[in-house]
């Protein structure tokens, strides 16, 4: 399906405005800049093909993020052959104090652990902690129930050995 010239312009304006946020979100999802770029490109081309539907959505940005997330979850083949690159954050610079060093180590360690999570669990954490979505919103994006979302989150946190006591509080708070 093609889109006409005004729709093309609208699409390009949307892309200019939202691309950074989509790429950042894709990085949190995939943990890999190259995968994130491929993922966003694929999804944006699909969005272009169906622009009339996307632009008619109440929140086109959220619509695209949903497409992005679902594409990521179904991206089995490419995901399996690409290596997720994780490592020490070189842009942060040398630690200013032992606490800061510990924090960087924690982040780096956590980033690596996140990369090892099943995709659904990682997606839930990215949507919850990076995109700041509520569990029902995450459920809409993933196409599952809020209970399933909480289940994914709980398992993810357990796998990260971060299943702290406040998880119970969070579940209640998000309902």
């Amino acid at each position: 399906m093609s889109v006409d010239v005004p729709a093309d312009e609208e699409f390009e304006q949307f892309a200019l405005r939202e691309l950074v946020g989509l790429l950042r979100y894709a990085v949190t999802l995939t943990g890999d800049p190259e995968l994130a770029r491929d993922l966003v490109q694929d999804v944006m081309l699909k969005a272009y093909d169906h622009w009339s539907r996307v632009s008619a959505a109440d929140h086109p940005n959220l619509y695209i993020k949903t497409m992005l997330t679902r594409q990521f979850l179904s991206w089995r083949r490419r995901w399996s052959v690409r290596k997720v690159s994780v490592g020490i954050d070189e842009h942060i610079g040398p630690p200013a104090s032992p606490d800061h060093a510990a924090l960087i180590a924690d982040r780096s360690d956590l980033w690596q652990r996140l990369a090892g999570l099943p995709r659904q669990q990682r997606a839930v954490l990215a949507l919850r902690y990076y995109e700041q979505l509520t569990d029902p919103e995450i459920a809409t994006v993933l196409g599952c129930s809020p209970v399933t979302v909480r289940s994914y989150a709980s398992r993810a946190l357990a796998a990260l050995r971060l299943d702290l006591v406040d998880e119970t509080g969070r579940s209640k708070e998000r309902q």
């Binding site: 093609s2 093309d8 390009e12 892309a15 200019l16 691309l19 950074v20 790429l23 950042r24 990085v27 949190t28 890999d32 800049p33 190259e34 994130a36 770029r37 966003v40 490109q41 944006m44 081309l45 272009y48 954050d89 842009h91 942060i92 924090l103 924690d106 982040r107 956590l110 980033w111 996140l114 954490l125 990215a126 902690y129 990076y130 946190l157 971060l162 702290l164 406040d166 998880e167 969070r170």
Partner: protein
């Protein structure tokens, strides 16, 4: 630092891994341009084929028209007879197209198939029509935009995609000659006219 903060902080501290948006946008635009080029090429080749078919159809019908004029019997009557005998046949189609290449057509029978899938309004003017039988309308028919000169009838799109011409006078039972001019608001897609086996004489080009 609690779990929420640590996760948030971890995600945000890796934002620098984000690929260059300008480069990604450039790649997306390049792929879109490639798709447009591909689409345009495909459209041009399709249009070329349609024009060629239309030209052949116009040539054939002009030739057929001149043959009819040389025939001793009335051309309209011949068409009506042909239509009546073939109306139950399966409907082979003959694609024709663009309104500009067809300025008139002869409709020999009450019903034929028409599928105009090119966006726009089309006006076809027929020579006098001779309708041989009483024809009744169907509740499922959708009335088309129409106008007649010299007769009273309606043109309706049937549920199956055909065209039905229904004389306004219910008692009408003999040949009726009307000059038809009707407009069709067509649909998106390729310009195509499909006629049933009764055939439609097309003249003009």
């Amino acid at each position: 630092m609690n779990i929420d903060e640590l996760l948030r902080d971890t995600f945000h501290s890796h934002e620098h891994l984000t690929p260059d948006p300008a480069r990604v946008l450039g790649d997306i635009q390049q792929q879109i341009r490639g798709r447009r080029r591909h689409r345009r090429t495909r459209l041009l080749s399709t249009s070329g084929a349609v024009i060629a078919v239309a030209a052949i159809a116009a040539t054939v019908s002009v030739f057929a028209g001149s043959t009819h004029h040389n025939s001793p019997s009335s051309p309209a009557t011949s068409s009506v007879t042909a239509a009546a005998t073939t109306s139950t046949d399966p409907a082979p189609t003959s694609p024709v197209t663009s309104a500009s290449s067809i300025h008139s057509m002869r409709i020999p029978l009450s019903e034929y198939k028409i599928a105009i899938t090119h966006t726009g309004d089309y006006t076809y003017t027929s020579p006098p029509l001779k309708l041989p039988h009483p024809i009744t309308s169907d509740p499922n028919d959708i009335e088309l935009s129409w106008g007649f000169v010299g007769g009273q009838a309606t043109i309706a799109m049937t549920k199956g995609g055909g065209i039905r011409i229904v004389p306004a006078n219910g008692d009408w039972s003999g040949p009726l000659v009307i000059q038809a001019q009707f407009r069709v608001d067509s649909f998106t897609g390729h310009p195509t006219l499909q006629f049933d086996s009764a055939g439609i004489g097309i003249s003009g080009g």
